[in-house]
């Protein structure tokens, strides 16, 4: 049993957990920990410019590696600044361990300088959190925190550490010595229910796999098993925004993303299927549209590690609580042992129907040789980068995000980082830095909107300081495009506060930060400009001036079922009905 200070324990526990990088920002209540960080070289500390940035970087790090991201911030404002990022990680099930400093235990509750009730504020936005009052409990708590963050449905956890606990000496427990507590979510699915589902697979005429972020969170085995199951059964597969890359975009059974801005064929297949197999997705309202009309004639299966996801919004016929990889393994084994049966005739008709839907060519848009269309910009970016297997894409939130999901193809998991559940503008830039820190040699691109990008642009300083060659590909429509789109569909084209009158000169901004700026406004120059961005060995801010009035289609208006999708040609004012108008 080793004696050491609490501050030393923090560093030792992180080392024990195999942590290589932490993202943080110092302040009075974490100075002892920063002093320990100064005196070692095992763990790299990335100094951010704002605590929200630290959390999004840790999210980018976690999503692109499958390992938990670690954040260190001070008490009070440090902790409150981290709240948006923590909530983002909770909504998207991203494992994070956030360490916050706190005023000394004897001052807690006295409205001390930079005191905030951090565990109170973050209780609803963490998977779990702890206030550690004794140095002897600190190392054990940190080890448990990693266990909780990474097991079951992953999520952010927070440990609040008062300054006197950091200074005091106590007994260090290694990860092995520390108990894991009783928390151990079930990973094996119910075999009887899996067998029932396999029986349904064998006879289904119009089956569809509807996959989500749970496949990616489950790990590489889940991805492999999904691919095997999809290819062996010949069933079509679609995915949520979170699940892109689990099944390759070039795979022959791929229908594209589903949901509010998903592909026509994917949404109609969801609506008309007779067997829906949800693997690691959660029937989010962006996916279901009007719940009462959601896929009315199907039997539904739901595989999820979180029991509370099952039957939350959509009642299912085959509820299976378990880890995706474990359940898929059992499903495949049982299906094979029963003779690998599928309804061949039914499937042939089903694929013929899907081929009809595909003819609609729902992503078509009117191109221009005068102005860059955002879709065209992404098509070119895709064409010029898709050969790079080490390509990682982050996005901000808005139209550009949906276009990126539609026009970029993902062949592997963990290559696509976007804020889905919370829809946090300002996510992409710091997330891209976190990805680049984890993969220094990779090509990391943040597809951004100018509005979102400005929300955390201070992090360009971090990118420059750590020579993270992130490419900020800004689709600059000088508009809060997604807000504008809703105003045009819902509020009679009254564009209330949805554009910026004073955008910065992004090229000069790049120079001010000490990186490269590129501006492009002519479609004829676009390829060369993208090549210039890719060739530059350092961070780039690419200001791509695009069409200002483009709307993103297809779109299922809020409160409508899947088969009431708007395509590019129907830009009606009353596209969203009164009932849907109250929805977001």
């Amino acid at each position: 049993m080793t004696q050491m200070t609490g501050a030393k324990m923090v560093v030792q526990a992180l080392r024990d957990q195999g942590v290589e990088v932490i993202f943080g920002y110092p302040g009075g209540a974490v100075l002892p920990i920063y002093d320990e960080i100064f005196q070692q070289n095992d763990i790299q500390h990335i100094l951010v410019r704002h605590e929200q940035g630290a959390v999004h970087m840790a999210e980018g790090y976690a999503r692109s590696t499958g390992k938990p991201g670690v954040v260190l911030v001070t008490s009070g404002p440090g902790a409150t600044n981290a709240v948006t990022g923590i909530t983002d990680a909770l909504m998207d099930s991203i494992p994070l361990v956030v360490l916050t400093g706190q005023v000394p235990t004897f001052m807690v509750g006295n409205d001390a300088f930079q005191e905030a009730d951090t565990v109170g504020i973050t209780r609803p936005c963490t998977k779990h959190n702890w206030l550690v009052k004794e140095t002897d409990k600190l190392s054990e708590t940190i080890h448990q925190a990693f266990h909780v963050a990474t097991s079951g449905r992953p999520g952010p956890v927070l440990i609040d550490i008062p300054k006197d606990v950091q200074f005091a000496t106590g007994t260090y427990q290694s990860a092995r010595q520390a108990g894991k507590g009783h928390y151990s979510p079930r990973v094996k699915g119910d075999l009887e229910m899996i067998t029932h589902l396999v029986e349904a697979l064998e006879t289904a005429e119009r089956p569809i796999f509807y996959t989500g972020g749970g496949v990616i969170n489950s790990g590489d085995a889940a991805t492999q098993l999904l691919r095997e199951l999809v290819d062996a059964t010949g069933f079509p597969v679609t995915s949520t925004l979170m699940g892109l890359g689990a099944y390759p975009a070039s795979g022959k059974n791929w229908l594209g993303m589903l949901g509010m801005h998903g592909l026509y064929e994917a949404n109609l297949a969801m609506h008309d299927c007779d067997l829906m197999i949800n693997i690691g997705a959660r029937f989010d309202d962006r996916i279901t549209g009007r719940v009462a009309d959601f896929s009315p004639n199907s039997r539904k299966a739901h595989v999820d590690i979180d029991p509370s996801s099952i039957n939350k919004t959509i009642r299912v016929d085959f509820p299976i609580v378990g880890d995706v990889a474990h359940v898929l393994e059992d499903m495949l084994r049982i299906w094979k042992s029963r003779g690998r049966k599928v309804n061949k005739e039914g499937l042939t008709r089903w694929w013929a129907q899907i081929a009809e839907w595909r003819k609609v060519d729902c992503l078509r848009y009117r191109n221009s040789d005068k102005i860059i269309k955002p879709q065209y910009a992404l098509e070119r970016l895709e064409a010029l980068t898709k050969h790079r297997t080490d390509r990682y894409i982050c996005t901000e939130v808005g139209q550009h995000q949906m276009w990126a999901a539609q026009f970029l193809g993902f062949e592997a998991p963990n290559r696509w980082m976007t804020s889905g559940g919370l829809g946090t503008m300002g996510y992409g830039l710091p997330a891209s830095i976190g990805v680049q820190i984890a993969h220094p040699e990779a090509l990391v691109i943040n597809v951004a909107g100018e509005g979102s990008w400005l929300m955390n642009m201070q992090e360009m300083g971090t990118a420059v300081q750590y020579r993270a060659p992130v490419k900020q590909f800004i689709l600059n429509n000088e508009r809060l495009g997604m807000v504008r789109q809703w105003q045009s569909l819902l509020h009679g084209n009254r564009y209330s506060h949805s554009w910026s009158e004073a955008l910065p000169d992004f090229v000069k901004l790049a120079e001010a930060f000490g990186c490269k700026g590129i501006k492009c406004e002519d479609p004829a120059d676009l390829d060369d400009a993208i090549q210039e961005m890719l060739a530059y060995d350092g961070p780039v801010i690419f200001d791509c001036l695009v069409e200002k009035h483009e709307n993103c289609y297809p779109m299922i208006p809020s409160g409508e079922p899947h088969n009431k999708m708007l395509l590019g040609d129907d830009t009606g004012e009353d596209a969203i009905k009164a009932g849907g108008a109250v929805l977001v």
């Binding site: 565990v119 209780r123 998977k127 779990h128 029991p307 509370s308 039957n311 939350k312 509820p319």
Partner: protein, 187 residues
């Protein structure tokens, strides 16, 4: 239809689930027993869950029940449609310091008791009547002055309600209730 509800086998001794329509709109009253680690903030987590997700709390009691294991038992009486009740249980189950969630309403017969104190101020006939009713309800007098009594009553919430209704016209001026404690019958 039992399959459509997310229910693990063996949790229902009376197979009451089979009798319930999962899509019903009718609100049911359920008594839940939640075994939690007795650590700071655990009650806030449970209450925050109910307020954050808009569930009802009709009654909530909590106390440490296992001193060595540091576990507490939270008894919650809630109302909701069958779907909401299932959600509540699943949401409680994912709170990290929660060990077990029991739905006493469907897991078999159970007993529920509540303790209440009623202060009744009256004189003459009313005072005598209050005392007589207290006797019928087996309520104890735990404090008396020349113009008031404090009655202590233990029983099901319905019995406590009934006693309170009777005391109202007889000079009830204040009451305190503990909320429900509940256990399943048998072993």
């Amino acid at each position: 239809m039992a399959a459509a509800l997310n229910i693990q086998k063996g949790t229902s001794k009376l197979s009451a689930y089979d009798l319930r329509d999962p899509n019903a709109d009718i609100e049911e009253r359920h008594t839940l027993a939640v075994i939690v680690d007795n650590e700071p903030g655990v009650l806030a987590r449970v209450i925050g869950l109910f307020s954050g997700r808009g569930y009802n709390i009709d009654s909530l009691t909590v106390a440490e029940v296992d001193h060595t294991g540091h576990t507490s038992r939270i008894t919650i009486v809630t109302t909701g449609t069958p779907a909401v009740i299932e959600q509540i249980k699943a949401q409680l189950g994912r709170i990290v310091p929660v060990h077990e969630v029991h739905d006493l309403t469907v897991e078999g017969p159970s007993v529920e008791r509540e303790l209440a104190l009623f202060k009744v101020k009256s004189s003459g006939e009313k005072r005598v009547e209050a005392l007589r009713l207290a006797d019928i309800f087996r309520a104890n007098v735990v404090d008396s002055t020349l113009e008031s009594f404090v009655f202590e009553i233990t029983g099901t919430p319905q019995k406590v309600d009934a006693f309170g209704e009777l005391m109202r016209p007889l000079g009830l001026i204040e009451m305190a209730r503990t909320g429900v404690a509940a256990l399943s019958r048998g072993t």
